[in-house]
């Protein structure tokens, strides 16, 4: 499923990206395939979202999150 569809508080594992240019930006900021990613919160107006990945919090627009494919994992929020 797309990262933008992952509900708040749920963990996913990054599988792949659908947009090459966006993936480069995301990868250099630590969003790598195989990495766990948690949707921390959604902005009150519904966009953007905040995610935790490899120890940071990143915010991105839903549009950007929809280029990240994740597989939902069991909710093992640290």
């Amino acid at each position: 499923m797309k990262l933008s569809e992952l509900p708040v508080g749920k963990t996913g594992v990054i599988i792949s990206f659908t947009d090459e240019a966006t993936s480069l930006k995301l990868m250099e900021m630590g969003c790598l395939p195989g990495e766990k990613i948690i949707v921390e919160r959604i902005a009150p107006l519904g966009d953007p979202i905040a995610v935790s990945v490899s120890g940071y919090m990143l915010s991105m627009r839903k549009e950007e999150a929809s280029t990240v494919l994740v597989s939902p994992a069991e909710n093992i929020k640290k």
Binding site: L24, M27, E28, P44, G46, D47, L58, S59
Partner: protein, 711 residues
Amino acid sequence: MQDRIRIALAGNPNSGKSTLFNALTGLNQKVANFPGVTVDSKTGRCSLRNPSTGETIKAEIIDLPGTYSLYPKSPDERIPFQVLCDPDDPSHPDIVVVIADASNLKRSLFLCTQIIDLKKPVVLALNMMDLVREKGLDIDVEGLSKKLGVPVVPIVASRREGLEILKKSIFNAERAFPDDFIDIHQLSPCVLSGIREVVKVNSSYAAFQIANNLEIIPYFSINQEKKDRITGIIREFGFDASKLQVQETLERYKVISSIINEFVTHREIAEKRRITERIDNVLTHRIWGYVFFFLNLFLIFQAVFSWSSYPMEGIQQGFTWLSGLVRMALPAGILNDLLVNGILAGISGIVVFVPQIALLFMFIAILEDTGYMSRVSFLMDRVMKKFGLSGRSLIPMVSGVACAVPAIMSARTIQNRKERILTIMVTPLMSCSARIPVYTLLISMVVPDRMIGGIINMQGLALMLLYLTGFLAAIGAAWVMKLLIKTREKSYFIMEMPVYRMPHWTNVGHTMIEKVKVFLFDAGKIIVAISVILWVLSSYGPKKKFEMINQKYTYPEAISSMPPAEVSNHIQSEKLEASYAGIMGRWMEPVIKPLGFDWKIGIALLTSFAAREVFVGTMATLYSVGSTDVSTASIRDRMMQEKDPADNTRNRYSPAVAISLILFYAFAMQCMSTVAVVHRETKSWKWPLLQIVYMSGLAYLASLCAYQVLS
């Protein structure tokens, strides 16, 4: 080693790079100028003592803009790449100090290993070691240093811990270079060897970066023939840039993961994050988040609008005193006039902005340093995005209500170039404080000073409507320009939301000083120049006419009927009418006539370019009210008495004219300081000129409609 070295400071955003830079250089800083880039880079100086020889050498330190990798995502981000990969770049360093957030090494090592692969001498500064301990992490510094092949120094930049060791280790940076972290050469052997033959780079990785960033090559200091050869090589052998970038990124992170596993051990869970989470529960809350944000805006607005008015008044009084002194000290004449009315007036027009700029940037530095600024974007992005603006655009726009000059400088915090340009373009439409005297004068001519329902003052209501008009015009203009301005560059919103922390007060102070300096020296030059031009235009004219005026007032019959003070008022008034500004006003008359303006208003429109409030003073001079008693009421009364020259029964300043004039001042770009600062911030004349054209066009249309409908 030479007696003078150049060190570049590179690192991720939020890694404490500015703190380290400030700690190393103190106040020996200046803003470096990279043509065509709207992002500034700073340089500073410090002296370093070689521990083995005891010699002291001078070091020039370049603070490169924060970046996550060498790949520029937009032309604005090209500086780190360009400086580090072009061996002939004037800023190319001898040594690179990479600063890393030690509490989050993985991502920091990405940039770090890229730079090490360039085969430049590198020192890695592991910052925030205090956080590492708090987080329960253990870093094997020595092992890491051996593995990376560069000196690694743990520091806490905010407490100046480890700085001395860092300075010493700069002398140990030149070691044997390790092998590439990943096998770059095999990614595209022919292209890389080819490029290395053309450009004198000492690593495959630098060649790889060059091949990847062809659009940046025009900025390189190599000649055109070599640039063409590089393009030729790439065309011949083929180079799929983004695919190879993905491959490099993945392989590099694989190596980094194994390094992290080997040298970093993890004991407990992160506690800091939890505090941040709790703060975020409030500050990004759907109600409290906005309450807190608008409280912040209100505080900033108060500071720029009202706190700064005290020092500003002081500055103005100081300059009035100084002008008086100069006027008395020098014999009357051109030099005296030029100094007082041209140059001093210009300088005081610059210095008067200093309190506003300093205060605004104090708040912005605090908001940035604490990590709150990224939450502002998070909260507001959805709304502002629709108008092509960023969540952060609200801060410049609200500050623009006080003054567009500091506001436009604060648009710096917007990373995306298009959003930043749009914010700069529309901010001057916000109703700034210089419009207030003009509005007050004109409103008092059309709106009766009466209360509605006993509580709402009608003139106050009119003023509020004008503020609203300014805001609506600004977001409307942004929306239109969003559709018109095309950028090839892809815009990202992806950004880090850093952990909250206390602001570093030295950073705050440095930011304030730096912004004031940039304004005084960069925008200041242009402001003084325009001020002098305006002075020449309004105090000189064809010689014959000026002599006639002087002669006329020497005849006793011309002056016998009035008191001496009024005589000089009349002389001033007639001279302004006869000056070049007056002549230009007359030329303009056919153009501005459909708006209901005559040539006298034309003169006021011209002189208002110094600052909008000059309108009031010019009107006073034109109607010989006298400069000693420039009260709004006396000018208003005089203007109200003025009859229409074509029809003596009608008032010159009918409500239609006054409203047309109000709208003109609401929209027109009549502020040389804003023009100068837009030029400084966009590093081009294209944007300020476009701004003048579109705002004047808007003003003209609005006034035209208003006058034609109302009269």
